[in-house]
């Protein structure tokens, strides 16, 4: 496999076209949601992502990720990684989703050193090669950073007595994604 094909695995090219979860939708009744806008100053691309959380159907303590809806523009890596994110976390308990974000970040930041656990990361394991490309790390993380940000605020909302959805928070891709 050429370096190129290692980076652009077929799974990534497919997700870049499929864009699972694309399009902002309203959260259903009983759910809480928050938006996050992330901007990549290196290329000018951006994503707006809505995380929707709801109490677990089985009544367990941890809420679940009810939906990940997003729009935005970007390279195939950023589009595919957000699409994969949708596939991976929707329906999961929040702590599990948060753990996956951590796992994904560790893999991406490892400069290609960490072997991804495909059992855990599923399609997201295809992004292991991105870590070797310093200037693409932000691409892979764009949607995931937005999700992490939106999720924490959606959960806070869900647990608040009277959820007060504020204006969507705007922040840049955190610059520590650099390294």
């Amino acid at each position: 496999m050429s370096g190129l094909d290692q980076l652009y695995q077929q799974i990534i090219l497919d997700h870049a076209k499929a864009k699972h979860g694309f399009g902002l939708r309203d959260a259903g009744a009983g759910a809480a949601s928050a938006d996050s806008h992330q901007y990549n100053p290196l290329c000018g691309d951006e994503v707006t992502l809505r995380a929707v959380v709801a109490t677990a159907p089985d009544g367990s303590a941890a809420p679940v990720v009810a939906d990940v809806a997003w729009t935005g523009e970007g390279c195939s890596i950023s589009q595919a990684s957000t699409s994969v994110l949708h596939e991976l976390v929707v329906g999961r308990p929040v702590p599990e989703a948060t753990g996956l974000v951590e796992e994904f970040r560790t893999m991406i930041r490892s400069r290609g050193q960490v072997e991804p656990d495909e059992e855990v990361l599923g399609d997201a394991a295809a992004f292991a090669g991105v870590g070797r490309h310093a200037n693409r790390v932000k691409c892979a993380m764009l949607g995931w950073t937005a999700f992490e940000d939106a999720l924490s605020r959606a959960v806070a909302d869900l647990f608040e007595a009277s959820p007060q959805p504020g204006p969507p928070a705007v922040s840049t891709t955190t610059d520590q994604e650099n390294a």
């Binding site: 050429s2 370096g3 090219l13 870049a16 290196l42 290329c43 000018g44 691309d45 390279c75 490309h133």
Partner: protein, 438 residues
């Protein structure tokens, strides 16, 4: 060392000078160690990113190392032999770089990069608060004029200067071919205009702007002219005195020299009227705990330890360029630009930002590939050893003007070859297929 005067109309029409022959290019390239490296699976490097930063010849590397292993010392200080050798080499470098753009040594200020040079000017003009506003200071009601094709470096500092002083920022728009809309000129540059700041050559469009026409418009209303010469001085002969601009900036790293150094250059009377912004050692005369007096330019703008070894390396860079001949370098790049434009025109689904002919144009060619993001285009090219730049190239407004967020830019320099240009064109032709956009 002084470059011959050039009428910018001549750019794209190299007159007598000819492009380098294949043997000559090979000899040019032999001096740049990095050009012989391979990339990825053994691909020869095709470096088409000189618009971002150029590569360095051995002469430049050696000059800096020689200095550092023989005479390295603080300049203008100390009575010792190393300090004297260092001072001499450092001031010789100032003469050489100033002479390369047709100026005298007291008309050139060493800066961190071109960006700092523009900030020195923009902050100097908005320098309210220390004593009385100087003769050049901006005030409410004044106007600063830029163009829609500026690099952020020649836009954001002016936005800030206007915000600080109450002046208004206006700009000259662009036509659909990527040239300044000069029909606008008399409407935009008026008696209220205090500064006309514009780029000599666009780093995105490649467009070379008609400096004499713009300078005349500014002079007619008494406005200061500030030229962003980052993409011109490296590529064709530029005589700032002959061009008649008041101030100009350019960077060493785009013309075979090191990072860490740039220049603010211009008419000594104008520099003398500009207050300093960055203060500290070496730019002062008399300092008490209560107050300080400042030296004359250029020292007034050079606070702290200057980039000494970088100045010496830059001297070697202009010598290297002069020895090859700026007119021949321009002719060589003109030939490559024509080939690049012709090649790209033949690739389906590819749109060029900027003029599609090589007249009044430098060899930075930015393209938008339908259905494929520039970063993906760049990665695809890299896989074959072709290094181009992708993104907004620090010029978001010009991209917006042409309906793009980002682009893929190939840029040539003295060491670029027809083979590299052909490889770029051929590989570009396969991008859309790979990403399923064809």
């Amino acid at each position: 060392m002084s470059a011959p005067a050039v009428d910018t109309a001549r750019v794209g029409d190299p007159g007598g000078a000819s492009a380098f022959s294949d043997d000559e290019v090979a000899a040019v390239r032999a001096r740049f160690p990095v050009l012989s490296r391979t990339v990825g699976a053994g691909h020869a490097l095709a470096y088409l990113d000189s618009g971002a930063t150029s590569q360095r010849p051995d002469s430049v590397l050696d000059a800096e190392r020689d200095y550092l292993t023989r005479s390295n010392a603080a300049v203008h200080r100390g009575a010792h032999t190393l300090a004297e050798e260092a001072t001499q080499a450092y001031e010789d470098a100032r003469s050489a770089v100033a002479g390369f753009v047709g100026l005298d040594d007291d008309e050139l200020v060493w800066t961190r990069n071109a960006t700092e040079g523009l900030n020195i000017v923009a902050l100097g003009l908005s320098h309210y608060g220390i004593g009385a506003p100087g003769p050049l200071a901006l005030r409410a009601g004044d106007e600063v004029v830029v163009t829609e094709m500026e690099h952020h470096a020649n836009l954001v500092p002016w936005q800030q200067a206007c915000a600080r002083t109450g002046a208004t920022l206006r700009w000259i728009g662009l036509d659909d071919d990527g040239r300044l809309d000069l029909g606008d000129l008399e409407r935009v540059v008026t008696a209220r205009t205090k500064v006309l700041a514009f780029t000599h050559a666009s780093n995105v469009l490649g467009t070379v702007n008609p400096v004499p026409r713009l300078v005349a418009a500014a002079k007619a209303v008494g406005a200061l002219t500030v030229l962003d010469a980052c993409q011109s001085v490296p590529h064709f002969p530029v005589d700032l005195r002959a061009l008649g601009v008041d101030l100009a900036v350019f960077s060493a790293h785009k013309m075979l020299g090191p990072t860490g150094i740039g220049a603010l250059a211009g008419r000594r009377e104008v520099l003398a009227a500009l207050p300093p912004v960055i203060t500290g050692g070496s730019m002062v005369e008399k300092v008490t705990m209560e107050s300080t007096t400042f030296r004359e330019p250029p020292q007034r703008f050079e606070a702290g330890t200057p980039p000494v070894s970088q100045a010496i390396a830059w001297h070697a860079a202009v010598d290297h360029l002069s020895a090859l001949g700026m007119d021949r370098i321009a002719a060589h790049e003109h030939m490559l630009t024509e080939r690049l434009l012709a090649g790209v025109a033949g690739v389906p689904g590819v749109r060029v930002l900027g003029p599609t002919t090589a007249r009044d144009r430098v060899g930075a060619v930015s393209v938008v590939v339908e259905g494929v993001h520039p970063h993906d285009v760049g990665q695809f090219l890299d896989n074959e050893g072709i290094a181009v730049r992708v993104g907004h190239h620090c010029a978001q407004p010009v991209h917006r003007r042409y309906g793009a967020t980002a682009s893929t830019r190939a840029s040539v320099y003295l060491y670029s070859t027809t083979a590299e240009v052909d490889a770029f064109v051929e590989t570009l032709g396969r991008v859309r297929d790979y990403f399923g956009a064809a």
